[in-house]
Symmetry: C2
Subunit: 259 residues, 2 copies
């Protein structure tokens, strides 16, 4: 655990945040490495997309939770873009819709994905921890916890190029979610980084900011731990989506059924 002894400069705080990403961001997780190296079986890729849907679907809830903490209209307008990115400006638009296009392409029915009945409990607990964190901690910590976006352009680039190269059932179109994200993430993380480096001046606040980013790295890491345990190691917890049963149609679209 990083323990500060004196306040960091804004540049020093940014460096400390980037150092957390360099050691704790989930691009270092063995599941990510397996996924982009083309080692995942179809059931693992399906399980990843199915579980990650829950994370995607809760991001606007998380961001609305942050909005409730902001007293300044200009700040709320800035933060509102995150909700627009995920929910879209109209039906058929937005990040959640694009994620559903990915789960469509992997054979899941939208009703099944949206029901989230088949996701891992570990996914659910981690994602809920993130939403609760943003409602219960200070606004500064809630904003700081979004800073994993500093590191997302790199993981997205690895993921997209690796998945396109290795899985013939994946295409640029099915990965459309990721095309939009790097520009959005850059805009968002520029804002959040500026905010925390301007507003966290004391040791106590800077420590909170660093811990918030570590917490968020844990939220992402634990989701990949859960996927590895269930779908790589094969220790399925009771009641979750099972690729073997999926062959018999559970959660997947029937032949001839439209997406």
């Amino acid at each position: 655990m990083t323990i500060l002894e004196k306040p960091l400069s804004p540049a020093g705080l940014e460096a400390a945040l980037r150092a957390i990403g360099a050691t704790r961001y989930h691009n270092l997780h063995r599941f990510h490495q397996r996924l982009h190296a083309g080692k995942c079986r179809l059931g693992e890729v399906q399980a990843w997309a199915l579980n990650r849907y829950y994370y995607q679907s809760m991001i606007p809830i998380k961001d609305a939770t942050v909005l409730t903490r902001m007293e300044d209209a200009a700040m709320r307008r800035e933060w509102r873009k995150r909700i627009e990115d995920h929910d879209g400006l109209a039906e058929g638009d937005g990040g959640i819709e694009r994620w559903l296009q990915l789960t469509d392409s992997l054979g899941f029915s939208r009703d099944y994905v949206r029901s989230t009945v088949g996701i891992l409990p570990g996914t659910r607990f981690a994602v809920e921890a993130y939403v609760h964190f943003c409602g219960e901690r200070s606004l500064l910590e809630a904003i700081a916890s979004s800073l994993t976006e500093l590191f997302s352009p790199q993981i997205i680039s690895e993921r997209v190029s690796g998945m396109l190269a290795h899985y013939d059932y994946v295409s640029k179109q099915t990965l459309a979610y990721f095309s939009a994200r790097p520009v959005q993430a850059k805009r968002d993380s520029d804002f959040a980084l500026e905010y925390v480096c301007t507003h966290a001046n004391t040791i106590e606040d800077q420590q909170k900011v660093l811990n918030a980013l570590k917490f968020k790295c844990d939220v992402l890491w634990v989701q990949l731990d859960a996927l590895w345990s269930a779908y790589v190691d094969g220790a399925l917890s009771p009641g979750v989506w099972n690729p073997a049963e999926a062959q018999a149609g559970i959660g997947l679209m029937q032949h001839g059924q439209a997406a």
Copy 2:
């Protein structure tokens, strides 16, 4: 997922609850089986006790959360016994103290255990999910989520006899926590079972009761998943307690230091 088509009788509801325990309670988890069969390395037993401390320490917070939902003094008096069991009637008494005697015996310093800095993020998220559940769901669901106690006498009996038989650093005294629990759990689960079987009469309420117990089974299961992944499979997440570093004294008492 159990889907009810008509309301169950009280006996039918009890049977459905017991059927959930028979398929989802964590006595079926491979980590429990490894622990009581004597297959765990010392570091795994230590990690189990360290992580489980966080669960124990949050139980009175969870039960106080349930108390805040109860409008009836007689009910609150009944439920308050749970807090008394864990927090004790005086310094040096209670379940949390007895759990700390176990972590003492495994070499941890109490400051380190109480700080919870070394626990797995998966443990933290699961335990927090339980506390949040009891604050956010109905009182009926909060009470139903405690019903894993129906099944705890059996797992405790397996755990204690297995651990005493296989680990020479474990004694009846270090496992004192478990001696008190079966009687307390029986009293608690008798009350909770009577409550839910009396108050859940509609399909909707009975479904909520069943789902609450499944949720709680997930809370326990995910904690063992996290232990397996980190300490049996060796995929330590960044920043958690590491048995290899513990050899160098991190988190453990120094030789000659009193418990």
